[in-house]
């Protein structure tokens, strides 16, 4: 008896589900992120952001009257599993758009497949090569290291500095940053007088910094790197008593860097997202509200600190939603066209103005220059 009732109930439920499915099939947003593994500091906040905002958008009525459905996989930071998951998203999940790729490695592994399958893809990884040269179906939300280099050099020139010493990590982020800095410096008429590097597991950079200190004519020092290396450089810099203006890259724009570097970070500058200083943005800044809202909502929902990387996912998802709304359907080509023509979307990372030649859409000004004052990030301009 009980079993029979169960059977009926199941049949009715399936029937109902099919009915509602026919009424509005959900829009499928696919994602592969590095939620665990060495890049989990990127993937974890990204996934949390995606989950939270998909839920929020559905609560507010969805997109085009349809719900969003997030299909996500964890690639653990490995490029080959990223490729496999991208393939699964395309072939078996048949998603409408992909927002994913925490690192440049995982992104680039998936790009060929996605180009072939003709599905719009918004990456959350940094390197300039993702969107340069332009790939028809590939977009990205973070600024590139090239922009960071240009932003730093511009701030230096504003202070009348034209001769610098460069110290960079030999890892992927540092060496790409070094190459971009050298190119940008040549274009902008800044001379790089000293150019030294350090390895990822080095524990003391005093020797390299001494090299820079003893180079005649250096007016400022820039460190392009990631992880604990820049914090050690910062400490050594202070220990050596070097007083030249000191710059770091956006790679260390987080509160944990301040914890590591301690008081020796005092006075250094770096380019960063306004997310680090939401309250000191001037009234009337178009980003102020977006940034404050994202921070408040994320921190209320997860009880952990908001990070710049989660913001890349926030912008990716919102760009996708905006494009689908504008296209009026989930037809891949229509969505791609709409993405490419998004103008004036104000996100947490910056104001996006896409075009057929620019699948990133941010400009150098989306980086704000911050200075460490009294152990806190302070907005300079």
């Amino acid at each position: 008896m009980v079993r029979r009732i169960g059977k009926y109930a199941a049949a009715v439920a399936t029937g109902l589900m099919m009915l509602s499915a026919q009424a509005s099939e959900p829009i499928k947003i696919g994602s592969f992120v590095s939620a665990t593994g060495p890049a989990s500091f990127l993937g974890d906040p990204e996934l949390k952001t995606l989950e939270m905002y998909v839920e929020k958008i559905n609560d507010e009525g969805g997109v085009l009257g349809r719900d969003l459905e997030l299909v996500h996989y964890d690639d653990g930071g490995s490029a080959s599993s990223a490729r496999n998951f991208a393939s699964r998203l395309i072939r078996s999940d048949q998603v409408d758009i992909i927002v994913g790729g925490s690192t440049t490695g995982t992104t680039m592994a998936a790009v060929p497949l996605i180009q072939q399958a003709r599905i719009p893809f918004i990456s959350m990884a940094g390197a300039v090569k993702i969107t340069t040269p332009v790939k028809k179906w590939v977009f990205k939300t973070p600024q590139s290291d090239r922009m960071a280099a240009e932003r730093i050099l511009r701030d230096m020139k504003d202070r009348g500095i034209t001769k610098i010493g460069l110290i960079s990590g030999t890892g992927g982020f540092g060496s790409s940053g070094r190459a971009q800095t050298l190119e940008a410096a040549e274009q902008m008429g800044v001379e790089v007088l000293a150019d030294v590097t350090y390895g990822g597991s080095d524990t003391d950079m005093t020797a390299q910094l001494t090299d820079i200190r003893n180079t005649e004519g250096v007016e400022a020092v820039l460190n392009f790197g990631f992880g604990q290396g820049p914090a050690i450089v910062t400490r050594n810099y202070a220990d050596l008593g070097m007083e030249l203006p000191f710059y770091q890259s956006h790679g260390v724009a987080s509160d944990s860097f301040l914890d590591l570097a301690g008081s020796s970070a005092e006075g250094l500058r770096l380019p960063a997202s306004p997310l680090l200083v939401p309250d000191s943005l001037p009234e009337g800044d178009p980003q102020k509200e977006v940034v404050q809202d994202y921070k408040a909502e994320y921190e209320a929902h997860y009880d952990s600190k908001v990070s710049t990387f989660g913001a890349y996912a926030y912008d990716g998802l919102n760009l996708a939603v905006r494009a689908i709304e504008k296209a009026g359907s989930t037809d891949p080509e229509a969505v791609r066209k709409a993405l490419e023509n998004i103008e004036g979307y104000v996100g947490v990372t910056g104001e996006f103005n896409m075009s057929p030649d620019d699948h990133n859409g941010l400009n150098v000004d989306s980086f704000r220059i911050l200075e460490v004052q009294n152990g806190k990030w302070t907005l300079i301009n």
Binding site: P38, S40, T170, V196, T197, Y198, G199, S201, D202, T203, D204, M205, T206, A207, Q208, T210, D211, N214, G227, Q228, A231, I232, R235, D239, L240, G241, S256, D259, L260, A261, G262, S263
Partner: protein, 291 residues
């Protein structure tokens, strides 16, 4: 020019003194058991990380340091009792592989308990750096030198003046004979693991304010300590100290004068060169094969 050289020298001797302490740990265990303990780097990590974790919980620095050293020593003891002793019939290569397994295990636990982030530790004394002939000497470097020197003197006294020390020496020279005169070689082994864990953890604590510390810091520091021990001649205490200092100084000079890209390459080719011309290391004992 001179100040530049002096700067590299300071940097090199500071990190070299750390290598030397780690190398001494390798030497001690090698002497007692002919095992190369690849978990030596994990003792270094445990020292630094425990201190950071305990001070983070609001404990005074000195208490945290003492507890961290005790924890590491107990861990060294446990490593010998639980992993090495049960396999005492196995040959040396198997025992070495066991220590590699143990190091991966300890690192894994540390990652779960303390997370993957790097942690900083304040300098032991006021952070003011000294200026010597235009070169800067971090105040923490003085602590590294001082504590290193005290430990070396203490070790020398331990081996020459105490019965336990002499028992370790006797065991290292001839295990069978030592057992025949009534030395309990199992206890000697435990003691050797404990003392070398102690040395490693102290190295990890004094160097943490300079290098930061994290769950995986033991890999590279342990490896460098091993290189230092091998350069000096495995089994020689003086060799471990000279090897450590030499390695640190050569590394710093290479980073300063050539390029930091070659820093590790220079360090590891040093071991090749030394072993090529002096197969027993700089201070290795002459071995006479009896036919």
């Amino acid at each position: 020019m001179f100040s530049e050289f002096l700067q590299y020298l300071f940097t090199g001797t500071t990190i070299g003194a750390t290598y030397a302490l780690i190398a001494l740990g390798f030497t001690l265990i090698y002497n007692a058991s002919h095992v190369i303990n690849f978990a030596q780097g994990e003792f270094v990590m445990i020292g630094g990380m425990t201190t950071v974790a305990l001070t983070g919980m609001g404990m005074p620095m000195i208490v945290a340091v003492v507890l961290a050293v005790i924890l590491a020593s107990v861990l060294g003891l446990a490593l010998q009792r639980l992993a090495i002793a049960p396999a005492k019939q196995a040959d040396v290569v198997t025992l070495i592989i066991i220590t590699i397994g143990a190091s991966i295990f300890i690192r894994g636990i540390a990652q779960v308990v303390w997370g993957k982030e790097y942690h900083s530790m304040p300098n032991f004394s006021a952070t003011q750096s000294l200026e010597v002939f235009g070169a800067v000497l971090n105040s923490q470097s003085l602590w590294v030198f001082g504590i290193g020197a005290v430990l070396v003197v203490a070790l020398v006294l331990f081996f020459t003046k105490t019965l336990s020390g002499k028992a370790i020496l006797a065991t290292s020279m001839n295990k069978e004979a030592a057992r025949l005169v009534g030395i309990r070689t199992q206890v000697v082994l435990m003691l050797a693991f404990m003392v070398s864990a102690f040395l490693g953890s102290v190295a990890g604590i004094v160097v943490a304010p300079i290098t930061f510390t994290s769950y995986d810091i033991g890999i590279i520091l342990g490896l460098k300590g091993f290189v230092a021990a091998a350069i000096g001649g495995l089994g020689s205490g003086v060799g471990a100290i000279v090897g450590g200092l030499a390695l640190g100084i050569v590394e710093a000079m290479a980073a300063g004068y050539i390029s930091s890209d070659y820093k590790d390459a220079v360090a590891f080719s040093m071991i090749l060169l030394v072993l090529f011309f002096m197969p027993r290391g700089l201070f290795g004992a002459k071995v006479v094969e009896r036919v």
